[in-house]
C-alpha cells in the first residue's frame, strides 16, 4: 500500500497479511485438487483443509465438526437464521445483515443505551415462550461498543431452565456476529456462552468471502445451499481450500498478537481522540468509554457534513468511513446513530475511524494534524 496514504477504515476491510497470502498461495494452482477426489494428491489437500479447520476450531475452543465454512459473515448470519420460524430478538443497532434477516421473521427489536450497549435485562423482558433466537453482535461495527454477551447468555440459560420446568420444548439459541472484535477480544465459544458464532476472515487480515458459522452440537440447522453435501450437508459446494488455509493462518496470527496489538491500537486511538477532542470542544465521541474495541473511534463534529469530510480527507490521502450522509438526504442516516439517540446534527457530522495493522504512531500523528487543519478549514467555510 502507498505509504503516503493513511488507511483508517480497518473495520470495513483489512489488507491480507503477507504471511496469510503465502500460506494460501499453493492452493490456487499447484495444489488445486478437489478435496473430495479419490487420488492421493487430492486426499492430501483434503487433509490440509481439515487441519486448517482443526486449527480454527482450536483457536475458538470448538470442535472441528461444529464449524461450517461459508463465503463470509453475511452468509453465516443468514444460515444461523435459516431454520428459525418462531420469535426472535435483535438489538436495534445490529448490522444490516442481521436486521434484514430479522425482518423476515417475527422479531422484537430491543433498544440500546447511548453507548450502543445492549442490556441483558431488556433481552430478558423481550423473551417469550416461543422465542427461538437471540442475535447480538460481539461488538458494534460503527461504535466499537463491546456487548455483554456473557450476561445475555446467563439470561438465556435461565430461560432454558424455565422451559424445562414448564415442559416447553421450543429451543432457544444465542447467536453472535463476531465479525468485529476477533483479534482484539478472546473468542472462546464456551466462555462467551453462545450457541452459534459468526466469524469473518476478511476483517482479520485474511481473505474476503471466507467466513464461518460455529454451531454448537445441540443446535438444529438446515442448509440454505444444497448440493454435494460438503460441510456436513449444511453448506454444499467445493471446499475453498486456499480461503480456509488463509482464514486459519490469519486467525492464528491475530491471536498471537492479540494482547500487544489491542494495547498498541488503544494507545494510538486514545492519542488521536485526545488531540481531536482537545482541539474541537464541541466534538462528541460515541461508543462505550471503557467497553470499546481498541481501534475504534467514532467522532462527531456538529455543523460539519461527515460525508463531505470523508471526501476532504480522501483528497489528503486519509481514508475514513461515515455512516451518515448530509442532512438533506433523509433516510440515509445511520440506524446505529439513531438507535443511540444521537442528534441529527451530530449524526450528520460523524466519521468512523478504525485503526489496525496499517496504523503507526507516525501516521496517526500525521492524520491528527491533517484532520485538525481540514476540520478547522471546514468550520470556517460553514460559518462564513
Amino acid at each position: 500500500m502507498n505509504t503516503e496514504l493513511i488507511y483508517l477504515d480497518h473495520a470495513a476491510a483489512t489488507p491480507l497479511d503477507r504471511r496469510v497470502l503465502m500460506a494460501m498461495q499453493p492452493y490456487f494452482s499447484d495444489e488445486f485438487y478437489n478435496p473430495s477426489s479419490p487420488y492421493a494428491p487430492a486426499v492430501a489437500v483434503r487433509r490440509v483443509y481439515e487441519s486448517a479447520k482443526h486449527l480454527i476450531a482450536s483457536q475458538i475452543g470448538a470442535k472441528p465438526g461444529e464449524i461450517i465454512i461459508t463465503a463470509g459473515a453475511t452468509e453465516s448470519i443468514n444460515l444461523a437464521f435459516n431454520d428459525i420460524d418462531g420469535h426472535i430478538i435483535v438489538p436495534s443497532a445490529e448490522h444490516h445483515s442481521v436486521l434484514n434477516c430479522a425482518k423476515k421473521l417475527d422479531a422484537t427489536t430491543v433498544s440500546v443505551d447511548k453507548y450502543g450497549m445492549v442490556s441483558a435485562d431488556f433481552i430478558k423482558a423481550a423473551i417469550r415462550p416461543n422465542t427461538q433466537l437471540i442475535s447480538v453482535a460481539l461488538a458494534n461495527n460503527e461504535l466499537g461498543t463491546i456487548q455483554p454477551l456473557r450476561d445475555i447468555a446467563q439470561v438465556i440459560k435461565a430461560e432454558r431452565e424455565t422451559r424445562l420446568l414448564n415442559d416447553n420444548k421450543t429451543p432457544i439459541y444465542f447467536h453472535s456476529d463476531a465479525s468485529q472484535g476477533v483479534g482484539q477480544i478472546d473468542i472462546n465459544v464456551a466462555r462467551l456462552g453462545v450457541d452459534m458464532l459468526t466469524m469473518n476472515a476478511g476483517k482479520i487480515y485474511g481473505p474476503k468471502q471466507v467466513g464461518l458459522l460455529w454451531v454448537a452440537s445441540h443446535v438444529r440447522l438446515s442448509p440454505q445451499i444444497v448440493g454435494g453435501g460438503q460441510e456436513r450437508g449444511i453448506r454444499s459446494g467445493t471446499e475453498n481450500v486456499a480461503g480456509v488455509v488463509g482464514f486459519s493462518r490469519a486467525l492464528e496470527l491475530v491471536n498471537d498478537h492479540r494482547k500487544y496489538e489491542s494495547e498498541r491500537l488503544a494507545k494510538l486511538r486514545d492519542s488521536l481522540q485526545m488531540v481531536l477532542v482537545n482541539t474541537f470542544d464541541k466534538a462528541v465521541v460515541s461508543g462505550h468509554p471503557k467497553h470499546r474495541l481498541a481501534g475504534h473511534l467514532h467522532i462527531s463534529f456538529p455543523g460539519i457534513d461527515g460525508e463531505r469530510l470523508v471526501f476532504i480527507l480522501e483528497n489528503r490521502g486519509i481514508m475514513v468511513a461515515t455512516g451518515s450522509a448530509c442532512a438533506a438526504n433523509k433516510g440515509t442516516r445511520s440506524h446505529v446513530l439513531t438507535a443511540i439517540g444521537l442528534s441529527d446534527e451530530l449524526s450528520d457530522g460523524s466519521i468512523r475511524i478504525t485503526l489496525g495493522h496499517l496504523s503507526t504512531p507516525e501516521n496517526i500523528k500525521r492524520a491528527g494534524e491533517i484532520m485538525i487543519e481540514e476540520i478547522k478549514r471546514e468550520y470556517k467555510r460553514v460559518n462564513k
Binding site: 434484514n100 457534513d305 460525508e307 463531505r308 471526501f311 476532504i312 480522501e314 483528497n315 450522509a325 448530509c326 438533506a328 438526504n329 433523509k330 440515509t332 467555510r381
Partner: protein, 381 residues
Amino acid sequence: MALKTKVYVGMSGGVDSSLTAALLVEQGYDVTGVYMKNWTADLPGVRCPWADDLADAKRVAVKLGIDFKVFDFENEYRQKVVDYMIDEYKAGHTPNPDIMCNQEVKFKLFLDAALEDGADMIATGHYARTCHIKPVGCNNKADVNCHSITNVESATISSTNTCVGELLQAVDKNKDQTYFLYRVTGKALGKTLFPIGEFTKPTVRKMAAERGLWTATKKDSQGICFVGQIGIREFLGMYVNSKSGNVVDKISGKVLGHHDGAIFYTLGQRHGLELGGGLPYYVVGKDMAKNEVYVTTDLNDDTLWKKSIKLTNLHWINEMPINNCYQIRVRHRAQLINANLQLDKDIAYLELETPERAIAVGQSVVIYDGDVCVGGGIISI
C-alpha cells in the same frame, strides 16, 4: 466591486455536470453544487442506486471547494414524471420522461428552489447553449449576438436580471440535447447557463481529466434514470397489469403469435416479438382496447413512414413562430429535416420534405430555426 453572480449547478455525479461546475468556478462565478434527489423505484434488498451518484457529485464539489446541497424533489418527480410516463404507456402512447423532467423538475422546481435559496442563476451539464437577450421593450436590442457567441454572461451580476434566453443547439451535434429541452421557457433559459454546450464530449472528458475530476472517466448514464437497473419492461410490470394478447399480421389479419402486453410495444419496434425465423417483423400499430399488436414484414408500410404530422400540446420557448420553413427532429439525435409549418390555433401541422420512420403518438417533435430551438409539440392522431 461587483458582487459575484451566484450560480447553482445541478450536479448529477456525472462528468458533464462535474465539468460544468468546474468551468463556472474558473469563470469566477460563486458556485454551489446541488444534487437533485428524484424518485427511484425502491427495490427490496437492492443497494440504494442514487447514493453513489450523490457521493460522486459531492466528491467533485469538495474537490472544487464549493458548497453542496441536496434538493429533495422525490414527491414532485414521482407525480410529474413517473406517473406521467406510466399513464402514457397505459394509454398506448410512447412518452418521453426526460422532456418532462426538464420541463417540470430541472427548469421549474430546481430553478425556483435555487432562486428562493439565493441563487442568481442555475446551470446544468446539458449539451445545449443559451444566449440571453433583454426583452423587447426594455432595450429592444439583444446584448449579444446570439448566433455567433454564447455564454457571454459575465461572472458579475449585470444590471438586468429580467432577460430571456434562447435555446441553441450544442456545438457537438452528435450529443446535442436540445430535443429534451424544447419545453423549457425562455424565461427559465434567461437564468440558465450551459457551459459545456461549447464543447464536444471527448473534449469534456479530456477537460475533466485535466482538472483531476473524479468523474472524468465515469460511464455515461443510459436510459431513464429512475428505471435504473431493471429495464423499462420490468419497471412497467411493477405498475401495470399487463395481459397477454395476439400479435396480428396487419395485412393478412392472421394471428402470428402472442405478446405479454400491448403496453410494452412501440411503433417501429423490431425486437422482442419472438415470431420465429424468416423476415423480421415490425410493429405498425396496436389496439389497446383489444390488447392486439399489429406487425408487418413490409419495411415500406405506410404506417411506418409519415410525411405529415399533427402536433398538439404546443410549446414555444419564446415567441410563436411566424414563418413556415423550419427544421424538425422527431427523436433525440435524429437528423434535422426541412418541414413546412402551418399553425391553426393550438394545433401545428407539419409537412416533411422527406418521410420519417416510426412516428409514434406521444412522442415529441422539436422545431428548429437553424441553430435555434423554437419549441415543438406532441404527436397526436
